[in-house]
Symmetry: D2
Subunit: 412 residues, 4 copies
């Protein structure tokens, strides 16, 4: 039984789903194969991922492959209620709505697991967590799962290292066709799309502080530079810091960046990257937002503790007035700004990520039964296959090694 | 008497106006002077310009200077109904609503001129046109006007060359602090903000065709490159074409660009830049939009004539289905995409443009009475002054020539 | 009678001239016309400009047009002795050698003017200066001249403003096909070519301070950014400073830039841009160089006064050891680094600049007799013509306005 | 006993070595430790690597650590004869000269191995190859070696896979502080430094074809774009091709790139990337060069077979005249252009690479005796240490994880 906001929004949701279909040709091709082969016949798949139009396309592709798909979100602010309505109208069980409270959010996840899934698709690790805790009884028929994001993979590896992981999970995030593209180009574009649209302030000529120079941080920094900003990177890893420097950015500790930045974007996967110490030194009118998985990178407790007033400034912008009169503006409550105050990643990027997911889920359905608990790499041929399919879908041609060249490369 | 859509939207409009105030410090400083000097005491000013939050700030500044301000828009799709409501609530006469028909649009302009303004602020030349035609009787007390945009200045010069211009107009667009910034960085950012938000498709790795390499085109091209696109420029001027080439873009005629582009953005100031001949050769799924003043650059008659069906795809996206099945997507009905499907230029950019406007309007109020009809440059000291005010507002310092250096530069 | 370094270098000089010929097609086309029309029949032309391979191509083109060409340099360190030798071998009178002392340099100019030229081509204004002073008697048959560079035009305008200019001069520098290309893209590439080759130090990740954001400074800054540097711009003009900021650079006074820069490149046209006050605050190992016309931008007197030792570090690098042990490295004695320690502008850029020069010289030869003293713009059709010729030489096509579009643009 | 070109060049060589010392602080710090600890006491080290000033600094550092260092080059055109002379004058045994024939080159390597080294440093694998063949008898006291370059590591892995590798080798190339920096930023800058200086032709506005989008190719492409070129990438790997596309480059097969390119730079590690089929379609005046390890990427046999004449155009430029009159220009005989016609990588980059090498060599000296044959990763702490040392040498500070953050990251 579904729990969504408003079924009457279904038509706009369907239009959104139809729109992105045009820009997701790789997943479309895989859907055709699924239609033919029915690799998920008899399988129940639970998916917990940002519930918007591209995700709906994935759910449809899985159903075309014979799966019974149960859908929930992975972030209370990232759900598009119109897309959720469309999915329900098309016969899916959906549990999600935008702006869910912590309690509602957990209920939605628990309800989704109620089907005792054969396979799960997780984004950030919340489903996985429940399956190791209060929903452990829903693991009965579980073959395994996939994990979409860096943070989720990080949590899985920590759990596996502690010997606590109870089923096999494929680290979809770590596929080249996922993290090299989704994390960099997807996060880069969607984060700035969201910031510009939410704020209508200038990026050109401004000082943008990007905390974290992993793959997502690289994308955010590259687009900031492309928009004409003076970009400052903060890091904890010396090699990443040197790369940021050589990529043309300034590098400094957050303590030095805090008083000079105009925009602050956290994308580290860590907590308390911006705390009271930094907030106290920031300039009036700064824009704070987060593009990391959890809303812990900018410390909201510290923000609230320092504020004498919280002002509703514009849609998705809260102003925190400090005792000295400065206003610090927080976008989307510190949640993933590109999803909570935007459309999420561009369709063509999710086309690659979800092509990886679709093939990993098929792999689990067909070969997962024998796997012992652990974190698994994406099977190697899946990456190459998605790369080739995507190139073909874009009409691009590349060179092929001749036999003579193969021989040269094999010699020593 | 005002004619707007819905007064109940006023609170959201006020929030928007309040938000941009924080990012428009130069205009804020000028408003303080106006408050003190009342340079517009007894003057009626009619303004016809994209009616959104930044424009409201300008109207407020003029009123602080003693003016009675009558407000209308300059583009049927660019009006923000909530801002219009806020202005009415604050006591302005406003005639504008989003989605006005051609007839409604003209009525709004005519009603605005009914006050027989002392000074006008025009954007694109529609007020000016009426004052030379059906509203010529409203010129009785007219001192002169200012013109905001390249297209409007172009029309004024053509009219003046024909000996038909009946009052003095200052070409505000041609101020360095206007066109070097607003046209390039403003149009660049706001156009891509609008395109990305409206479509949610990838820019990175796509082929973007920018028609026109004037100041606006430069901005649109630079940001496309900054977002990772392969940018193609079309031009009619050989020197501009060479500059585009040396700025790192590909240059070719539209006939060659049509079959390879993914996005087409017209920003030429001319009509029929994209016509049936080009539409017939475009790929399925292309995105067409315009960032030039009038909706004549992409020929909508040709689009409609070729289409077998027009589909409502997403908010502000129409799909034109061709007989061969291709769908060509047009944003915002071919009107200025950054205004009709976005927030318009960033606040800090309009801060400079409207600082120029505010000082030009003051100049007209104080010195315009003696001017004969014609197109006038912005008084030189206004440009330098806005530059210095803006630098100061941003907390930036620069060098000053020493006397020794002044002497060196004066020698030969 | 020629005065050069070593005639035996002629073969390498000829190879250099032959090499650049391949990359100067626009000048090549004009040379063919000159060959046919002989517009300079009976004319003596004195040219004072950086004497390297591209200049030799211009001299050859003028001779093909019937001129008797007398050649000298305009910068003691920019002369290529092999090219000078080649020109002498081909029958030109040449007075120039690399490393000329101030006295030798002036003698070379005076000897060149000894022919009593009909027309001069000047770069920086030294020939012009002599013709108003000690060589005023060589003006007898002078029709007029052209001036190649911003600094020279600046001096001419100052002289004209003082009522002291005695003959007409065309400001070739101000042609769009000259300063928009030569000053930006030419100076940008050649300056960094020279710096990288002379020093072999990293640009990526370094702080580069560019003094002056005119056309040359823009080119130097753009290439520094393209090489991965963190670029700081210093300026005295507020509007240029704002443009630099919005182009993505940091802007600050030289006093603040001095202690943080790794490279300092002056390109202002002014003197004493870097003085003792700045030198005292610089870091050990900084690289100082100049890309402005005269060697006065970095104050060499101050450098010498502060130094306890001057070290010959590498070819074209002097190290000035400060009392505290820091070494400040000066390239090419503070003269135009791209010419004194490099190959000068790329051939294709000089192709445009010298196409402008060739056509201006022809204009003077054919129409200059009636001109009164003063500084003249390049005749308008020359700019458009060079633009079209260059596009054609590169095999590029662009659009043409239709009659319908012409009519649209003429309407109001 | 040394075999070099000309001992009298030693002073210029010493100046070059002294110059780069200032820009290699990380290696300088390690040299101080070596001086103190003498980790190479009693060891003979044979190094075969591009013999220029930065390499001399490494040799000096190793000697400071107690080693007896025997030096040869690894590329016949990359040896700087003045640096070789300086090393001999400082007491090293050196076998190398610029322009060595194939026979001379092998003799130099063989003579260098005559010392029966304890450790070797190889670049490209030629020393290693000899030690598995004609010089196998010199392996008697060999502990192991390091390998500097991608190509060398590739050969080693092929040899190891065939079970033929006879001693342990550390893949220094694969250290993050090596390949992420040296291969990208080093190759990028030095390749364009060399091309611009050798040719003096424009890069801006030209079509640059980069064959190969590995780490070196990324650097070459990024700098080409930064210089204003339209960059085309060719690849054989779909994922690398997609990355190139999303990084803003055009991607196509070499067959399509051949007729449109102005510059062709091969950097694949494979042979016959450009062959007769491509040469036949290239435009007149193209510039061909290679930045891969061996001179096999552009097929010189094909070039010679097609040419009706080979012309000596400028220093390091040969022109191959085709039967139809086109001239194809080859730089530096198709050898590594940045070394054979330039100064090699910037000093600061080699500072990192050689810091890695120095610490790997120390590791071998202290811990290598027990290693079985095979290809080894750089010990993990070496990478982090070089990163921290380099940051400190540049005066950069970064953030450190708090205990609270460490705990957060360890949780799941």
């Amino acid at each position: 039984m579904s729990e969504i906001r408003d079924l009457s929004l279904k038509d706009e949701g369907k239009r959104k789903i139809d729109w992105v279909r045009s820009y997701m040709p790789a997943l479309g091709g895989i859907e055709c194969e699924f239609e033919r082969d029915k690799p998920f016949k008899g399988r129940k798949i639970a998916i917990s991922i940002h519930l918007e139009a591209k995700t709906a396309r994935l759910a449809l592709a899985l159903r075309s492959g014979g799966a019974e798909v149960h859908v929930t979100g992975c972030n209370p602010l990232a759900t598009h209620d119109d897309v959720a309505a469309a999915l329900v109208d098309m016969g899916f069980e959906v549990n999600a709505w935008r702006g869910a409270t912590a309690g509602e959010y957990e209920r939605h996840l628990v309800n989704t697991l109620a089907c005792s899934p054969d396979i799960i698709l997780d984004d950030g690790g919340d489903l996985t967590n429940l399956l190791h805790g209060t929903c452990a009884d829903k693991r009965l028929s579980l073959i395994g799962g996939t994990e979409e994001t860096t943070t989720g993979v990080h949590r899985l590896r920590a759990r596996a290292a502690a010997g606590e992981l109870k089923f096999p999970v494929i680290a979809a995030n770590d596929a080249k066709c996922k993290h090299l593209f989704d994390n960099r180009y997807g996060t880069g574009q969607s984060t700035w799309d969201a910031i510009m649209h939410t704020t209508n302030v200038m990026v050109t000529g401004k000082r943008v502080v990007v905390a974290g120079y992993g793959y997502c941080g690289r994308g955010v920094a590259a687009r900031a530079k492309g928009l004409g900003a003076d970009v400052v990177v903060t890091e904890v890893d010396p090699v990443c810091a040197l790369e940021a420097l050589m990529d043309g950015y300034r590098v400094m500790p957050m303590d030095e960046a805090a008083p000079i930045g105009d925009f602050f974007i956290t994308v580290t996967g860590c907590n308390r990257v911006i705390t009271a110490r930094h907030l106290e030194r920031m300039r009036d009118g700064v824009i704070l937002c987060n593009a990391g998985h959890f809303d812990v990178e900018i410390d909201k407790n510290d923000l609230n503790a320092l504020a004498v007033e919280v002002i509703d400034r514009r849609l998705n912008i809260q102003g925190f007035r400090m005792a000295d009169g400065r206003i610090l503006n927080l976008l989307a409550e510190g949640r993933l700004v590109n999803l909570a105050s935007g459309n999420g990643h561009p369709a063509e990027i999710m086309d690659m990520s979800f092509a990886i997911q679709a093939l990993c889920l098929r792999y689990l359905s067909e070969h997962g039964a024998g796997l012992s608990p652990g974190v698994y790499d994406v099977p190697a041929d899946i990456d190459g296959r998605v790369g080739r399919v995507k190139l073909a879908a874009m009409g691009m041609k590349i060179d092929t090694l001749t036999e003579e060249q193969e021989a040269y490369l094999a010699a020593y």
